[in-house]
Structures are given as structure tokens and as C-alpha cells.
Symmetry: C2
Subunit: 339 residues, 2 copies
């Protein structure tokens, strides 16, 4: 086992000084052609690679960015990561992933740990618990220390920084308006509790659209799922107590459970019941019938978040100007809507 070669060793081996080696490897004009060639040949031969950590310490940048997400076994987040990774790699950055598992504490611990030198900046989506507590000190502090943070999807207006989101209200409106245009008026809505930003916005979009169309909002037709362990029974009950001709769900998992319950109850989809879901992932695509969705362009969201972050990192003067990038969405009709 050969340990990694250092400048020092090369210097000793070739009987020159460390700085000569350093310069030679950068092809500096200062060093004579002969020594340069000699040193470069030696380095090449023994496969010299500069030590990243030493460079990081010296340059005060690590060329790695951290992504903090609530969970990874979830197509939306996985696709965002994929986008971040793709763009980051193009710019020579590494991507470090941390899972908050929806926990405030894990989010705080992870961020504090990484903020001390390990990384150059954050891309994050808030944990449920953080949104429930509304405690964003940890994030504000990090930004205060001069470390850039880009938030996506689950964001908060309480933190002033770059953000990448979709227009949740608008996207929902489009879907609900579509239902209405097809004559559906008993529209169920399955969402998260209101403390989750995107859930709240989507619910808002739902209510507004009904009102705009002169339909009274019936709170019974809104189901806010808190505990995801027993989705099926909750949805079963929801169907037991109400009647719908259309349902919208804020994610694929809720939607596929709606589909399952509806079919079990003998409803025909889409004839008797239309369904639209947020998140265009593997479930919607592959369920039978396939589910119509709001395509969120998660991959692109990841790319843009990464781009915003890297721009901040590489711009000379720090710039207190923050933007919120709104990604366009698209209503994608598949087999759970009647065209």
C-alpha cells in the first residue's frame, strides 16, 4: 500500500525545493524548461494528485455543496438531487447529501456540522417539523456567517435568500379549473396539514378556484393527512363520508391511494372519477390506469438551485440581491382524466 504522494516527497526525491515543485507542476514560467519537464514527468509517472483538503484549507473553499432534504425515497426529491448533481458536476463541485428525515433537530445538527468549513453552500427543502415550529434561526445564522443558502419547494418567507419554487397556487388552479370545465363540481382535495408551505398553498389554490367559479368550499371535501402510516384507511373513510366526481392530491402517493380506493369501491376511473396528482414520478407513470399529474420539473428545479448557488459562490463581490425563481409546471393528462 503506497500512501499518496506529496509535493514534499517529490521535492526530496528530485532534490529541489517544495516551491519549485509546486511551480513546476503549474507550468510556471519561473522554472526552467528542464526542471519543469523533469518534475512533471516524475509526477505523472507516480500519479501525483494534489491533496484536496490542503487546497481547501488554503483556498477557503471546498468545492462541495450540501443538499438537505427531508427524505430520499421519494421521486420528487430524488429527481431534484439528480438535477443538482448534474449541474454541480459540470462546474467541478461535489454534492453532499443529508437527510433531515423531516426532523427539526436533524436538520439543525446536519447544517451546523457542515457549516464549519466542510462545504461552500447549502441547497435545502425544509423538514416538516421545522415548518411546524417555524424556527429558522439555524438557517438565518448560517446565511449571516456569509454562507449562501438556496431553498427549494418547501421554503419560507421568513428567510431572505434565493429560492426555487413552483407556483403552487397557480398549478392547483389550473387542475381544479380543468375539473370544473369538464363539469365536475364535487371535487375532493387531499393535502398535508397547513403548516407545510406547499400543502397550504395548494389548498389555497383549490379554495380560490372553487370560489372564483361560484362553488362553495365544503371543508368536508378537504382531507389533510397528518400521519402517513395509515393513508388507506383515512382515504377509505373519506370516500365513505363523501361523494366526488374528481379528486386532486398533493402528491403521487395520496393519489394512487385514492385510485385504489375508488376502484375497490367499484368506481370507474376516469368515467366516474377524475384524479390529478402533484409530482410526476414513477408511481403516476406506472400505475394502472396511469395518473394525470402536475409536472413539477424537479430535475430542472435542482439544476436551477445549483446554478443559483454556484453563481453566488463564484461571484466576486457579495451581493445582497436575492431572487426567487419560479419554475413552470404543466398539467399532464394521462388515464385518470377525461380529455
Amino acid at each position: 500500500m503506497k500512501k499518496n504522494l506529496t509535493l514534499k516527497q517529490i521535492a526530496k526525491e528530485l532534490d529541489v525545493s517544495i516551491s519549485t515543485v509546486s511551480k513546476a507542476l503549474k507550468d510556471s514560467e519561473e522554472i526552467s524548461e528542464a526542471t519543469r519537464k523533469k518534475i512533471q514527468a516524475f509526477a505523472k509517472l507516480y500519479n501525483y494528485k494534489p491533496n484536496n483538503i490542503a487546497l481547501s484549507l488554503k483556498n477557503r473553499k471546498t468545492k462541495t455543496i450540501a443538499v438537505i432534504i427531508p427524505e430520499i425515497v421519494h421521486d420528487f426529491f430524488a429527481m431534484v438531487i439528480s438535477g443538482v448533481e448534474n449541474l454541480a458536476n459540470q462546474y467541478g463541485y461535489n454534492v453532499l447529501i443529508c437527510l433531515s428525515n423531516e426532523s427539526y433537530e436533524r436538520e439543525v445538527i446536519n447544517m451546523e456540522m457542515l457549516a464549519s468549513g466542510s462545504i461552500d453552500g447549502f441547497i435545502m427543502s425544509l423538514a416538516k417539523e421545522t415548518q411546524a415550529k417555524k424556527d429558522y434561526h439555524h438557517i438565518k445564522e448560517i446565511i449571516n456567517q456569509g454562507m449562501p443558502v438556496v431553498m427549494f419547494d418547501r421554503v419560507t418567507r421568513e428567510v431572505y435568500t434565493d429560492k426555487v419554487i413552483i407556483d403552487d397556487v397557480l398549478a392547483t388552479q389550473e387542475a381544479i379549473q380543468y375539473f370544473i370545465s369538464k363539469g365536475k363540481r364535487k371535487i375532493g382535495f387531499i393535502t398535508t396539514p397547513d403548516y407545510i408551505s406547499v400543502g397550504r398553498l395548494r389548498t389555497e389554490g383549490y379554495m380560490r378556484t372553487l370560489e372564483a367559479n361560484g362553488i362553495d368550499v365544503d371543508e368536508n371535501l378537504i382531507l389533510r393527512i397528518e400521519d402517513e402510516t395509515n393513508i388507506d384507511t383515512v382515504i377509505e373513510e373519506f370516500f365513505e363520508k363523501n361523494e366526488f366526481n374528481a379528486v386532486m392530491a398533493v402528491n403521487e402517493l395520496y393519489a394512487v391511494n385514492v385510485l385504489k380506493t375508488a376502484l375497490k369501491r367499484g368506481l370507474k376511473v376516469p368515467e366516474d372519477l377524475n384524479i390529478i396528482a402533484f409530482t410526476d414520478g414513477v408511481i403516476s407513470k406506472n400505475s394502472i390506469p396511469s395518473i394525470s399529474t402536475i409536472k413539477q420539473n424537479a430535475f430542472k428545479m435542482g439544476e436551477i438551485a445549483a446554478k443559483l448557488l454556484i453563481q453566488k459562490l463564484e461571484s466576486e463581490h457579495e451581493n445582497e440581491h436575492y431572487i426567487t425563481e419560479v419554475i413552470s409546471t404543466e398539467l399532464l393528462h394521462r388515464e385518470t382524466t377525461t380529455i
Copy 2:
């Protein structure tokens, strides 16, 4: 924007030496109670955090491990990551994710980049292209340099190191034998090309089980999917040309497409056709009907891989003894098999 506090600054501020501060913050007996308290209070007040990069340089360890996977929008890999993350965090390690996107080149570049100081060790599953080329120089070299590597799922016997796998042959045998025990004899098998290790092993398990039961292997009943962009048409054709009463697929995606095709052709599942898939992910669970699977315990796989790696990292003497851990699998009956 306040930059991060350093020992040096504290020392200057309190008019003591840097090493005194360092020791005081470690609560060393060497330093008098009074100075210790004073320094600790100051550090606490201004929220001092040691710089990780400096520590890494000093200790020659980064406390971060890298996971290289072919893709992340895939439940199996996402769950493995989740397991790695979980265990790594318990031991104070960070997890860095790199995607090879099934490309040999990206795998090599990523690994070489990280190997120079950024991380302490690797956990990886081979890219398709790497398995096709059978070129494992990059991995061998890294191991040679003394950096531990743990491989999982897509492994190769050409690299001598720790591995975490399932018994692909055995798991397949169990499923196929189950079909046979239910009187199914026309069993289709949908797999990857043979250069992918797990695909090959599963195909082998299929063939062996048939032979053991005196059933001739009909190559027409084996479909090796090379290009995943047109799965549906390939499977459609497969059904056009053959007749089955059971099909096994090496992943969920293939399986759900089989299900779709079968239903479209008017077959009843499970009455006319039984289906079993590898990977117990979100597709199998949520498809309608839900798909019976070989549960691979991906989360556990990730945890064990992380444990093996961390043990290597933290053991004093390096130990040239490598093990291959075989995770048990389980045939999970859902709605695509008749019990």
C-alpha cells in the same frame, strides 16, 4: 457578515496563546480552572466551531464517506443510501453521493477526484458500462492506496474487498420454485443483459430451477432488456410471441410493465398470470393489483455496507481480511401471486 471564529482570534482577544485556547476548549487538566472557564465562556458566547477542514488536514481523516451509485431515481438505490446515511450519521460520518449515471467514465472521474483526500472511503455499486467493459483498474488502484472500498449489489469477483450482496441465485430459485409448486410451467423471465452481474445471476437461478424440476429451458421465454426507453413495446412483443402462466422480472419497473401488458391483453392477474418482481419499492406496493416481490432489504444493505466501511476505517491495524456479507431476502406475497 461575521466570518467564522478561529482559535487565533480567541487567543488574541483573551491575550493568551493559541495552544492554551486549544487545550482549554478540550477541558484539559493542564489549564487552570479560571482560564479554562474564561475561554470556554468566550467560545460559547461567540459560538466557536472548530474548522473541519483544518481538522481533516491534521488528522488525515475527513469523517465523510462517498457512495457511488448508478442512479438515484430508483427505489433500491435510494433505500440503500438511506441506510448508509442512517448508520453513518450515528458514527458521526457525513455521506457524499455521486451518480455514475451508468457511465464508466463518470465513475472513474468521480472516484479519482474524491480519492485525493476528500473522503475516507467508498461504498459503491458498479455502473452498467463498467460491468460491460470489465475494467476495474480504478477501483483496484484506490484500494491499493489504502482507501477502503465496500461494494454492494452490482459487485465483481475481480476486486478483492468487502461486499454486501443478496444471494441472487437463491432468491430467484425460491420464486421460480414457488411458481412451479403452483403448477405453473410456462414461466417467463425478464432480465438485463448478462454483463450485469445481478441480472446474470438471477437468470442463472431461473434456469437452474427449471432444470432441477425437469423443465426444459426455452430461450424464447427469457427477455433481456437492453434499452429501457421502449420497455412496453418489447414486452408487448414478448407476450405476442409466447404464452405464460407466470412471469418473473428482475426489477419493479419491468414487472409493472408486464402487469400492464397482461391486463391490456385481457389476462387476469393472478388467475391467469402470476408475477413476482425483485425490489420491494414504491411501484410494487402501490400498483393495482400490488405486485409480489423479493424483498431485498435495501435499507439494511446500506447499513451493513456502512458498518463494514466504518469498521475498516476505525480499526487500528489494517487488516487484509475481507468478507462478503449476504443479506437474506424474503418472498413477499401480494396480489400478483395466488397463495
